[in-house]
Amino acid sequence: MLHGKAHKYGKNVDTDVIIPGKYCNIIDPAELGKHALEGLDPNYTTKMKSGDIIVADTNFGCGSSREVAPIAIKGSGTSAVIAKSFARIFYRNALNIGLPIFESAEAVDGIDDGDEIEVFPESGVIRNITKGTEYKSAEFPPFMRELIDAGGLVPYVERRLAAKV
C-alpha cells in the first residue's frame, strides 16, 4: 500500500518541467530526484515527504522520451502518480522503471492539494482519507498486467531471450 500527501498539478505536465534538459546528463536516481518537477514547482522536493503522491490532470509526461523523467520522480521518494491520462512514452517508461502510475479522472477531481491518500496497487483502489472517498483506477490492459506481474520488462526480455536460444 502506498500512502502520502497529494501534490496537485494541472494538465500537460511535460518532461521538460519534470526534469529540465540541463540535468539529463545525470543518471543517478537520487541525484535526479533532487531536481524532480523543478521546472514546474521549484519547491516540490523541499515540501514533499517520502511516500507523497503526485496528482495531475490529463497528458502527464508529454514531450521527450527521457527515461530520467520517471526516474527523477521515483528518485525523489514520490510513491506514485495519479493522473487523468498519461502521455504514451512516459506511460511505458514509468512501468518499465517501476514507478507506480494510476489513471482515474474521478480520483483526480476528488483530490485536493494536501489531501492524505492511500493507493492499493494490486486492486487499483485509491482512497482519499481526508475526504473519506474511494475510487478505482483504470485497469491495465491484460498485456501490461502480465508485464507488471512478471516483474517488469527485464524479466520479460530474459524469458524471450531464453526462448530464442
Binding site: 521538460d16 540541463k22 546528463n25 491520462s85 504514451r88 520488462l153 527485464v154 530474459e158
Partner: protein, 439 residues
C-alpha cells in the same frame, strides 16, 4: 451473429500504412488498431543520454551479453556535444566504449555525424517500410520516408538492443489530407505548426498520423522530415508519409539495401479524417508555453514582440534547405543589435554543404554565431541556453516552460524564414512584410 459479422468485417477491411508495416514485421497477415504485437525492428537508435541508461539496463539482463545485430544499431553523440562538462564526457565515453565492445557499425562521434535524426536518413539508414525505434522522442522523423518510426525510453531500447524486437500496441490512424499550394514564404513548418494547433498536444496520443494530399505530393523531402518530426508534438506514436518516387530516389541515392514500399489500402479504417486547405495559410507561430498554442503571424505581430535570441537548427529545421532560406534573407544585411542569432547546421554533411555554398559565410557576415551540429540549444542543454526573462524565436519543436533554459524564459516556434526575418528586426516579424518593406 453480430460478433461473427464484426469478425468478417474486420477481416475484409483494409489496413492503414502503419498497420501494413507492423503486420509484416510481426509476421502476421493483418493487424488492427489496439492489437498488441511483437515486431521485428530494422534499426535501433540511441544517443549518448538514452544509451547511457540503456547500456546500464542491458548489463542487468541475464543472458544478454551481445546486441542482436551490430549492423542494425545506430549510436549518435549529439545531445551535449562537444562534451559540456566531465559528466557529459563520461556518458559520451560510455557509449563510445560500448560501440567498440559490441563492434557497432554505425557509431557517429562528434565531427562525423550530427543530430541523430538528420544523420540517419542522410546515411541511408532509413528506408520505406522499415520499423525503427529510437531512444529519442523525435525518432518519428523517419516517417517522412515511409518507415514506421517511434521514440521510446531507455529500458525499451535496451530490450530492442538484445531482442531485435519490440512489443507495440498497433495505433489507430488519423488521416490528414492537405490540399492547395503553400503561399510565398509559407513552409512545411508553418503547416505542421497549424496541424499541431488543430490537433492539440494530446490530440493524437497513441495514434499514427498519416499525411496525405496534393500539398504533400509537391513537398520536398526535407519539408516532410519537418512535418513527421513534430508528430510527437501532438502526442502521436508515429507520423508517416507514403514513399513516392521522390522519397524512393532519396533513399536509393544513399543505400543499396532492398526495401518494401507499403501502401495503405483504399478501404483502410481511420479513426478520424481531417482536411486542411493550405491556400490561405499565413506563416504560423507557436507562442509560449506549448507547441499547440499556434497563431497566424499577423496576430502575433500586432504588438511588438522583441526577442533576445534567434535559433536556427535542430532535427526539425537543421537541413540545408533551411539554412539556404535563412541565408537568402540575411544576405548582405546585419542582424538587429538587440538580438543574437545562433545557427546549428543539422549534421556535419549539412555543415560542409553550407560551407561550400557560402551559406555559412553569409550567416557569419550578418552576425550569426555558427555552431557545430548538435541538440544542445533546443533542449536547454548548452550552446545557447536562455537566461531569466529572455525571449527566443526558434526553428525547433518544443516551447514548454524552461525548454531552452531558464523557467523564466519564453520560446516562440516558427519557420526558418520567420526566424530570419525576426533576426533582422529584433522582434517577431512576418517574412513577407519584411520583403515588401525591402529591409
Amino acid at each position: 451473429m453480430e460478433r461473427l459479422l464484426r469478425y468478417i468485417n474486420l477481416n475484409l477491411m483494409g489496413m492503414t500504412l502503419t498497420e501494413k508495416i507492423l503486420a509484416r514485421h510481426a509476421g502476421l497477415d493483418r493487424v488492427e488498431a489496439g492489437q498488441i504485437i511483437n515486431a521485428n525492428v530494422d534499426l535501433v537508435l540511441a544517443n549518448e543520454l538514452s544509451a547511457a541508461v540503456a547500456i546500464g539496463v542491458m548489463r542487468g539482463i541475464k543472458g544478454a551479453s551481445k546486441v542482436f545485430d551490430r549492423e542494425k544499431i545506430a549510436l549518435v553523440e549529439d545531445h551535449f556535444v562537444p562534451a559540456k562538462d566531465a559528466q557529459s564526457a563520461k556518458l559520451a565515453k560510455l557509449m563510445k566504449d560500448f560501440a567498440a565492445e559490441q563492434k557497432i557499425t554505425h557509431f557517429f562521434d562528434v565531427g562525423r555525424g550530427g543530430i541523430e535524426h538528420v544523420v540517419l536518413p542522410q546515411e541511408g539508414l532509413v528506408a520505406p517500410g522499415e520499423v525503427i525505434v529510437g531512444g529519442d522522442s523525435h525518432t518519428c522523423t523517419y516517417g517522412a520516408l515511409g518507415a514506421f518510426a517511434t521514440g521510446m525510453g531507455s529500458t525499451d531500447i535496451a530490450a530492442a538492443f538484445v531482442l531485435g524486437e519490440v512489443w507495440l500496441k498497433v495505433p489507430a490512424s488519423i488521416k490528414i489530407i492537405y490540399s492547395g499550394t503553400l503561399g510565398h514564404m509559407v513552409y512545411a513548418k508553418d503547416l505542421m505548426l497549424r496541424t499541431v494547433g488543430e490537433l492539440g498536444i494530446d490530440g493524437a496520443t497513441y495514434r499514427a498520423i498519416e499525411y496525405h494530399g496534393s500539398t504533400i505530393d509537391e513537398m520536398s523531402i526535407t519539408g516532410r522530415f519537418t512535418m513527421a518530426n513534430m508528430a510527437i508534438e501532438a502526442g502521436a506514436k508515429n507520423g508517416i508519409f507514403h514513399a513516392d518516387d521522390k522519397a524512393i530516389a532519396f533513399v536509393k541515392e544513399r543505400t543499396d539495401r532492398p526495401f518494401v514500399v507499403e501502401k495503405a489500402d483504399a478501404d483502410a479504417v481511420y479513426e478520424r479524417v481531417i482536411a486542411i486547405d493550405v491556400a490561405n495559410l499565413e506563416p504560423q507561430v507557436a507562442c509560449p508555453h506549448t507547441p499547440d498554442n499556434v497563431h497566424s503571424i499577423s496576430d502575433v505581430t500586432r504588438d511588438d514582440v522583441v526577442v533576445d535570441q534567434v535559433f536556427i537548427g535542430s532535427c526539425t529545421n537543421g537541413y540545408i534547405d533551411d539554412l539556404r532560406i535563412v541565408a537568402k534573407i540575411l544576405e548582405g544585411k546585419k542582424i538587429a543589435s538587440n538580438v543574437r542569432v545562433i545557427v546549428n547546421p543539422g549534421s556535419q554533411q549539412v555543415w560542409m554543404q553550407a560551407a561550400q555554398e557560402g551559406v555559412l559565410t553569409t550567416l557569419a557576415a550578418a552576425g550569426c554565431a555558427v555552431n557545430t551540429p548538435g541538440c544542445g540549444a533546443c533542449f536547454g542543454g548548452h550552446m545557447g541556453t536562455l537566461g531569466d526573462g529572455e525571449r527566443a524565436i526558434s526553428t525547433t519543436n518544443r516551447n514548454y516552460v524552461g525548454r531552452m533554459g531558464s523557467p523564466k524564459s519564453e520560446v516562440y516556434l516558427a519557420s526558418p524564414a520567420t526566424c530570419a526575418a525576426s533576426a533582422l528586426t529584433g522582434k517577431i516579424t512576418d517574412p513577407r512584410v519584411l520583403e515588401l518593406a525591402g529591409v
